[in-house]
Amino acid sequence: MLKYIDTIRKISKRLLKEKAVDMVIGFRKGTVPMMNEPCFINKPEDVDNLVWNSNCGINLANYLTNRKEKIAVIAKGCDSRNIVTHIIENKVKRDQVFIVGVPCKGMIDRHKIASMLEEEIIEVVEEGNIVIVKSAAFEKRLEKSEILQENCAVCIHRNPVVYDELVAEPVEEQTDIDRYKDVRRIEEMQVEEKNNFFDNFLSTCIRCYACRNACPLCYCPTCFVDESRPQWLGKSIDPIDIKTFHLLRAFHCAGRCTDCGACQRACPMGINVRIFTKKLEKDCFELYGWESGLTLEERPPLDTYKPDDPDSGI
């Protein structure tokens, strides 16, 4: 995946030079290990600031809306699916975006890697399928497959589903993957156990809303938690208010979530918030055979009514 960067820069430069687009949205090198910063480039001479590696987990579809420019965007499989969702939901027009598709082999899980070591990580380097994690005292070589973000480990749409240009040949899609093991584990719990699980799960939430704000789906002009007339939700760290926020936000994402993992990645407390949306993603798949963001031709199931919709979906 590291090899993509030359092509990404070349395409970006060409598009800017030819004035085919006004800006390119991509990533620039981060200032701390395992982080890159979303950025825009609007001059051909600046394209060398763009980078690509396994730390580009933020979903760039989140940066496309409410803009007037013609935009080129560097899009992984999940980003491309969220662009499709944006187009379906009239948040962006197909001809406003030039999609530079990146066949993706998964992003690495910065929370997981940090928790594997007692020491401060000062550098993380990739060499093919090996990720070398360095602290002041030692180096640890890890297989990338062991430290993928959970959503990437179970991803079956690594290749962009819609694009104007691909930076490389498509990668092989993962098959025979049990995508919902974690959800089933919770589904199997008894009511009380489930309740305790969620209480504990969210006990460190500080309501910073990083999960919501990193999510391309959460674009409401005023989120329900911010409504004041009427005010639906308390503002404190009352566990019921916190739970209400997470559960309602997840329901708002039903049939729309692509499991891009941006919410989990963004959480400063390391809470796996995508477990909620994952459940709804599973339900939509099982009830309607629906996976979001795969096609521009069809309305999402929760957007339409069909006489043969399953009753259990209500």
Partner: protein
């Protein structure tokens, strides 16, 4: 405020001579001695990361940690704090009256706070404890708390405490400074609160002040030498506010910002709050909750107008407050202690060091 700092420095000076040696094998027993007269708080590992929590009986602070994910500010300034309560039930005394919620402020001690986090309380004090206004919730909690610091022998790569006016062995805001020496701690007694805690813990093995002092000074130098991160702040005060406000770099800095509250909530020096009423049937409370200048609601007017309606305006406010307005108002450095939390935890890697340098060097 300068006066308060001087007082602390003088107190510190008076007591610097006293250094206690605490063997780690006796550590638990002495901490237990404290639990009779203090409610104890300290860093504990929970769900994979360290947090400041109230220690249960017999529980020890885990001092093998870098900076905690959340700063310890909530010990003095909880994220949600009830201030007033009322009842409309006419059978109750004082119905229809907003009353202050009764709270006791028992003696508390925070064991193992980092010097930057302790310095942050002094900084926040400039806001909550002024000649004109005293925030009684904050001041009562602060005054009844003793801070036992833990010097940083190995600062992180994101620590720029020295450039922010404190340091890995900084003593301002601390009552005792512990220095981890491997099998034992040196405890430098800094204030009378520290003396009192020392007595309660029954730590008695005084060490020769000069020898101990020299060892500590060498360790301090070593720790300071390992700090690589820095910011330049020397020109901030001289910058024209309106020039910085209109500087062209904000659009680029703000692009990635998703306007979450991470930076403000994990910050030891962010002090803004929002006051909310919550009603349950016939009774209700008035509480305050941390607020964040990153949120649109922070400045939304009743009319519907929002003077900071864009991501960029909100991000600019945060940095301008910390690195310009505060600098101008208090003439006491930046509103930041260099703990590096926002650098490590920002979901999109907006780095205050970069922004500070942009602001400082803007021409």
């Amino acid at each position: 405020m300068i006066h308060t700092n001087l007082m602390i420095r003088i107190q510190g000076f008076r007591h610097t001579m006293k250094i206690i040696r605490i063997d780690k094998k006796n550590w638990a027993e002495h901490i237990e001695n404290l639990s009779g007269s203090y409610r104890l708080f300290g860093p504990v590992k929970d769900n994979g990361s360290h947090m400041f929590k109230e220690l249960n009986k017999g529980e020890l602070p885990d001092l093998n940690y870098f900076n905690t994910t959340l700063s310890p500010k909530s010990i003095i300034y909880p994220q949600s704090e009830v201030m007033l309560e009322y009842s409309l039930d006419e059978n109750k005394d004082n119905h229809h009256v907003m009353k202050e919620v009764k709270k006791d402020y028992p003696q508390r001690a925070v064991i193992g706070i980092r010097p930057c986090d302790a310095a942050a309380f002094l900084l926040v004090k400039r806001n909550f404890d002024t000649a004109e206004y005293k925030d009684t919730y904050w001041t009562r909690a602060y005054e009844t708390t003793t801070f036992v610091g833990l010097a940083c022998n190995s600062p992180q790569t994101t620590c720029f405490c020295q450039a922010a006016g404190n340091g890995p062995f900084h003593e301002d805001g601390l009552d005792i400074l512990l220095i981890d020496m491997g099998d034992y701690f040196f405890a430098k007694i800094i204030s009378s609160k520290g003396e009192n805690l020392l007595k309660a813990a029954e730590w008695e093995t005084e060490t020769d002040a000069e020898t101990g002092g020299n060892i500590i000074a060498a360790m301090k130098q070593k720790a300071e030498d390992t700090i690589t991160a820095s910011v330049s702040t020397n020109k901030l005060k001289g910058q024209k506010t309106t020039d910085l406000f209109d500087a062209p770099f904000w659009e680029d800095v703000a692009f990635a910002c998703i306007n979450c509250g991470t930076c403000t909530y994990i910050c030891p020096t962010c002090w803004c709050f929002d006051i909310q009423d919550e009603a349950f049937g016939l009774c209700g409370i008035r509480m305050r909750n941390w607020d964040s200048c990153m949120f649109p609601l922070f400045t939304l007017h009743g009319s519907g107008h929002n003077p900071r309606n864009t991501n960029m305006q909100r991000l600019r406010q945060r940095f301008m407050h910390k690195l310009k307005y505060y600098v101008d108002k208090y003439d006491n450095g930046i509103q930041c202690v260099g703990c590096g939390r926002c650098i490590r935890l920002c979901p999109v890697n907006i780095d205050i060091r970069k922004v500070c340098d942009l602001m400082n060097n803007y021409e």
